[in-house]
């Protein structure tokens, strides 16, 4: 915290000094060019392997074909295969969300501009034109990709040396639609920047500094993407209907979209009502709570009635993968964070061997997980002589199959008395072992972060509390927990995202005998890609996973903005 303060102080000094220099513009230009040169290699790599993949995956997810890099265009069907008609609801609301975000960013910027009396709407045309240029550029990428990806095949067919590459690439890119998109994009971007520059020259330096072109560019990109998504969803729904008509079947996509949307809206309303109830007086609060309960019931009625039907034809492997991810997340995060908090609070005292403990706790996190997972494979092996089973035998229990056990733990507890449906059987015992492994290996990491968080709590608070006669528990409850809430929030978010991304140790610990019950979303995507070579479908699943992670982050942010105390 103190470091950023120092950084700010230092930074305010520089501009004032460099303003005096006569050749200021030239210096600034040189510095900017050098900066871009410094950034170039890193951004080349990050752009190609970190940002571009998102576009590429979105493109790939609309293609179909086994082991084929450039498949046949298939619209949203990959998504429909995974989550059935929920696809249309999802894409419709995604578009709505983009529109909402675009409008909100404009409104927020406008409010600030009005307060500070900066020019605002004058920047709209240039921003919109640049935004359209970006969208055209994305269109260019989508149009150019299949042609560019074919180049190596052509090269091989020709059998020529490297020299033919440039020729073939130029040939591939010469197609009119690609050229139109490219030149259109360049034209729009250059025109937008020129317009911006033209307007900026005629405004005061203050307006120039606080120009809103960036805001409008972002909003234009979002609005145009939303329009494209709506068009795509609309045409895909039409296509689905016409296909169903040919097959002589009926479809109820529209009614499902409406019912499910109504269900989610009511859920949102219920949450808002409940939330506002907590700030009100008793009577109004009760009324609001009753309203919230009613909305919740109605939404549950809509969703429970319609959702299972809407996703019935989806991919069971994928849905089970998500359920397994949820189990893994729910199973490991609370224990992991609870144990880490306990260990960190205990360690954060005058304790002998403090640093030794810290080093030891961190070892499971740092050790290569293939190695440690191999150990867990042996410790939790299904052999009767394996350590855990040997222990069970010594206390008189039957040995268990552990990593080879596909049955859910609730089912195992019940025995043969009752057969539970798949969704109620709980995580399989094999998944529970993976949860144990995840907890074991991540507690140390969380402990270290908690220790850092505890270190930033001022000691005087504890001294004051103990003078006032606050016991250890009271101190923990009223000082440590609230002041540690940013750390807790960070770790929760980090762990949630981490568990949804988790792949490596789950992949090492999966066994054939567990019948895929341990396959979380990432593992399902990996298998779809590596084993089944369904590139398009794997991309669609990955995009769905990304959307889930984004949604979880957003929810977490909202909750945290209310609960977290940033002292």
């Amino acid at each position: 915290m103190s470091t950023t303060a120092v950084g700010k102080q230092v930074r305010t000094v520089t501009p004032a000094r460099s303003n005096i220099f006569a050749g200021r513009q030239g210096r600034k230009l040189r510095e900017a060019l050098l900066a871009y040169l410094f950034l170039f290699p890193a951004f080349l790599i990050i752009g190609l392997f970190g940002l571009f993949p998102l576009l590429f995956a979105a493109y790939q997810s609309t293609l179909v074909g086994l082991n084929r890099i450039v498949g046949r265009y298939d619209g949203l069907n990959n998504y429909v295969r995974a989550i059935d008609n929920l696809t249309y609801v999802l894409f419709f609301w995604l578009a709505a969300l983009l529109v909402f975000m675009a409008l909100r960013s404009i409104m927020q910027a406008r409010r600030t501009a009005q307060e500070k009396q900066w020019a605002f709407w004058i920047w709209a045309p240039s921003g919109a034109i640049i935004g359209a240029g970006f969208i055209l550029f994305v269109l260019f990428i989508f149009r150019a990709l299949p042609a560019v990806l074919e180049v190596p095949q052509l090269m091989r067919a020709r059998g020529g040396p490297q020299a033919s590459f440039q020729q073939l690439l130029a040939q591939a890119l010469a197609a009119p639609p690609i050229q139109q998109a490219l030149w259109g994009a360049l034209l729009f971007i250059v025109a937008g920047i020129a317009l911006h520059w033209y307007i900026a020259r005629r405004r005061s330096p203050r307006d120039r500094l606080h120009n809103a072109t960036g805001v409008f560019t972002g909003a234009a990109v979002m609005l145009l993407s939303a329009a494209y998504l709506l068009w795509l969803t609309w045409t895909e729904i039409q296509r689905a209907y016409s296909e169903a008509l040919e097959a002589g079947e009926g479809l109820d996509i529209w009614s499902q979209i409406i019912t499910i949307s109504a269900g989610f809206l009511l859920l949102f309303v219920a949450w808002q009502l409940w939330d506002s109830a907590s700030h009100r007086q008793s009577n109004a609060g009760t009324a609001l709570r009753l309203g919230a309960a009613a909305a919740l019931l109605a939404s549950a009625w809509f969703l429970i009635g319609e959702l299972p039907r809407a996703i019935a034809a989806g991919d069971d492997t994928w849905w089970y993968g998500l359920l397994a991810t949820l189990y893994y997340s729910m199973g490991t995060i609370p224990i992991q964070l609870g144990v880490a908090l306990l260990l960190a609070t205990l360690l954060f005292q005058d304790i002998w061997g403090k640093s030794v403990f810290r080093i030891i706790y961190f070892v499971p996190y740092i050790a290569p997980f293939v190695g440690t997972a191999a150990v867990f494979r042996i410790i939790f092996s299904s052999r009767p002589s394996a350590p855990v089973n040997a222990f069970l035998r010594s206390v008189g229990a039957d040995p268990l199959a552990w990593l080879n056990e596909p049955a859910g733990i609730f089912q195992l507890m019940l025995g043969d008395a009752l057969t539970l449906p798949a969704w109620a059987a709980g995580p399989s015992l094999a998944l529970v072992v993976i949860i144990i492994y995840g907890t074991w290996s991540f507690v140390g990491f969380n402990t270290v972060i908690f220790l850092a968080g505890l270190g930033s709590i001022p000691r005087e608070l504890y001294e004051a509390a103990s003078i006032d006669g606050g016991g250890r528990w009271a101190q923990f409850r009223h000082i440590t927990l609230p002041l540690l809430s940013p750390t807790i929030y960070f770790l929760t978010l980090y762990s949630v995202i981490g568990t949804f991304k988790a792949f490596n140790h789950i992949y090492v610990l999966r066994t054939a005998a567990a019948l895929g019950t341990t396959d979380t979303a990432s593992v399902v995507i990996f298998q779809t890609f590596k084993r089944d070579t369904r590139y398009g479908y794997a991309s669609a699943l990955a995009i769905l996973l990304l959307l889930i992670i984004l949604a979880l982050t957003a929810v977490n942010n909202r909750l945290a903005s209310k609960r977290v105390f940033y002292g």
Partner: protein, 301 residues
């Protein structure tokens, strides 16, 4: 705020003596309970490793029979595992991959971090936000596109990328984490140094190499350590881009060996120890850097 203790600093002595005065110096139930919990945690964290060492020294009957300790340590297991799994190949592969990645990452991340920390240019905030947004992207999204990109690059370029070092190293030569970590540190270096360097006629590049880098040994070390761990641990990507053992890194090599070795648990465990040991040795020598690097950056590599 003024007297904030630095992270992980030991608590002040005043608090401890007050505690002692209230609770009595020695036979304090709370203290005993604290140590009991901490020791349990330590035992749970460390016992699997001892068990690994123990099994790795057993013979076949002991390993499959569920013994806890070997009667006579079989040091030959390590030799056999090393030979059977061709660990010398995987080991060297991992070392080479790690070296190439770390060198590339240090050069590229240092340059980019310097630009973000010390230079002014249009679009700085936007590019930085773009950079941080890559942290949100799950690895799963990048598998298919990057695999296609990498094989495409290999087919149009002079050397193949699949089953070769470029696919395993170049995509990891720059990352948001490394740039962020270094930028945070570069920003703390006082600007007076830059002013005096300018007076001495030094440009940005010379200032970065002669002044900034010598001052930034700690974060550069941390970054190198994370890159090392990351490439030693990587599994999903190597499985996708290596179909032959030629460039297979050690984690994937161990995984392949685990399946080959079948029920030879002693060899499996010897292989695990061979994989784990280098990391643990490095960790024990640099643990302070490691833990503080993680605690201050709050991110993993």
């Amino acid at each position: 705020m003024a007297s904030q203790t630095t992270p992980l600093a030991p608590p002040t002595a005043g608090k401890a003596s007050a505690d002692d005065g209230r609770n009595g110096p020695r036979f304090d139930m709370g203290q005993i309970l604290t140590y009991a919990v901490l020791l349990t945690g330590a035992v749970v964290a460390i016992v699997p490793f001892f068990y690994t060492v123990s099994v790795s020294l057993m013979n076949l009957t002991e390993a499959t029979g569920g013994a806890w300790l070997p009667r006579a340590p079989q040091w030959g297991n390590y030799e056999q595992a090393w030979r059977d799994a061709s660990f010398s190949l995987y080991f060297m592969n991992s070392v080479k991959i790690t070296l190439i990645t770390v060198i590339g990452e240090l050069v590229f991340c240092t340059l980019a971090a310097y630009a973000f920390a010390r230079m002014e240019f249009p679009g700085k905030a936007f590019l930085f936000a773009l950079l941080l947004s890559t942290l949100m992207l799950p690895e799963a999204v990048t598998w298919v596109p990057n695999f296609i990109t990498v094989s495409w690059l290999g087919r149009i370029g002079p050397i193949p990328w699949i089953n070769n070092w470029p696919a395993l190293t170049i995509p990891f030569m720059a990352g948001a984490f490394g740039i962020f970590l270094l930028r945070q540190f570069f920003q703390q270096i006082p600007n007076e140094l830059w002013d005096s360097a300018q007076i001495d006629g030094a440009g940005h590049l010379r200032y970065l190499v002669r002044v900034m880098l010598p001052l930034s040994k700690a974060p550069v070390m941390t970054l190198a350590l994370f890159a090392f761990i990351g490439s030693w641990n990587s599994l999903a990507w190597p499985i996708l881009v290596t179909s032959t053992p030629d460039w297979r890194p050690i984690s994937y090599g161990l995984l392949a060996f685990l399946d080959e070795a079948g029920a030879q648990f002693h060899l499996q465990m010897a292989g695990s120890i061979i994989t784990i040991a280098p990391i643990l040795i490095i960790y024990f020598f640099t643990q302070k850097q490691f833990i503080e690097g993680i605690a201050t950056s709050g991110l993993k590599g």
